[in-house]
Amino acid sequence: MSVRYGILALLAEAPSHGYQLKSAFERRTGSQWLLNIGQVYTTIQRLEQKGLVESIAPDGAADDDRRDYRITDAGRAELESWFENPVVLEEPSRDELTIKVLLATAAGSVDLTSLLQRQRRASVEQLQAYTQRKATADPERDVAFLILLDALIFRTEAEIRWLDACDARLRALGLIEGEGVR
């Protein structure tokens, strides 16, 4: 989904060929989502079939690697609509951790205190790793990377707050012992 709109957004600025699109997409999204070139071409093909982009070079005039593409009017309309509309996640998304905690709570035989704490520790360590990278990033040059890191940090933080909330809720019900020891 995001690759498709990423390519549309890049082509809206200037016609490009596949390798240019791949490297520009990676650079703008903080170099954390690496694309393989096959994925780029597959996406371009789909966009072309839908009439959202078109090849500039006449057929056979250049090999695929060098062929430039440009966005069509329909492509621009599609892109504008994407930017204008909020992203709504399908709820509830299936999430392994949520399912694990729910099943452990239902099972009754799992040590919930330890389960929650092990997860909390892992999440805090993950946060520490993100934060180390943030600490060394250049606030002016690495804007894309920092915005991406903030997204990862806040998601992880939300997960920890949720773990704390689970802990408090289960404790209030007596499903976790008051004096928690590992």
Partner: protein, 243 residues
């Protein structure tokens, strides 16, 4: 590194709890705030303490800061046994060795930023001129050199918290204790406060941060988790190597 050490090998231990416990009341009514706890914090280390309300975080901080004494065990700060100190010596410890930053800033509204920062030194008997000079240095180190003559009300929340940090560190106090210092700040401002704490420690200082905010705790080299008055776990980044 500004910390005096006797050895030349590893960083020196600035804070050590040896089975330190704190309880209130006796017999059936005894309430344990902190079970016997052992912990070491070295020079150059930023330690975060996380845990729910009532888990003993603030008790632990009060013991290290000499605001309270252990019921049992030892608390050693910069080589001195806090539990055995007289109140006069504890006051000296707080003025020269340990600085405190609270969520509630406690800046005096009638004094400028520089005057607020100079207070600990003046209380310690330093001449007003020398105290003022050190205060300006401290404000400069938290990026507020230009705002030294502002009153707290004319500063943003983040700036006020930086003044409080300057006041906690003024005169070269090596140990900074912070109790939810980012609690009232928005995330970007809170982050700038955390960068400051981290810089203090990367420069050889020591800090203990109590927080329930994981994103801010993650600036620490090490995070300990308190639960019901006990340290139950510890986190460090995967890439960290043993000191």
């Amino acid at each position: 590194m500004t910390v005096s050490t006797t050895g030349s090998t590893a960083a020196s231990t600035m804070v050590r709890l040896e089975g330190a416990a704190r309880w209130f009341g006796a017999g059936h009514t005894r309430v344990v705030a902190l079970h016997p706890t052992s912990l070491e914090v070295k020079a150059g280390e930023l330690l975060a303490v996380m845990g729910p309300s009532g888990s003993g975080k603030t008790t632990l901080l009060s013991l290290v800061g000499g605001l309270d004494k252990p019921s049992e065990g030892k608390v050693v700060v910069d080589g001195k046994d806090v539990g055995a100190m007289k109140s006069r010596d504890l006051a000296i410890l707080r003025r020269r060795t340990v600085g405190y930053v609270f969520q509630d800033l406690n800046l005096l509204a009638g004094l400028t930023a520089a005057e607020n920062v100079a207070i600990p030194l003046e209380l310690d008997g330093r001449a007003v001129g020398a105290a003022r000079h050190a205060a300006l240095d401290a404000l400069g180190s938290v990026g507020l050199g230009d705002l030294a003559s502002r009153f707290p009300d004319d500063l943003s929340g983040g700036e006020q918290q930086r003044v409080a940090i300057a006041r906690a560190l003024v005169g070269g106090r090596p140990i900074l204790l912070a109790d939810e210092p980012t609690g009232a700040l928005d995330s970007m401002t809170g982050e700038s406060v955390m960068r400051l704490l981290r810089r203090h420690c990367d420069g050889g200082g020591t800090a203990i941060l109590v927080t329930h905010d994981a994103a801010h705790a993650a600036w620490a080299h090490r995070v300990v988790f308190l639960r019901d008055g006990r340290i139950v776990d510890e986190a460090r980044p995967a890439s960290a190597t043993a000191a």
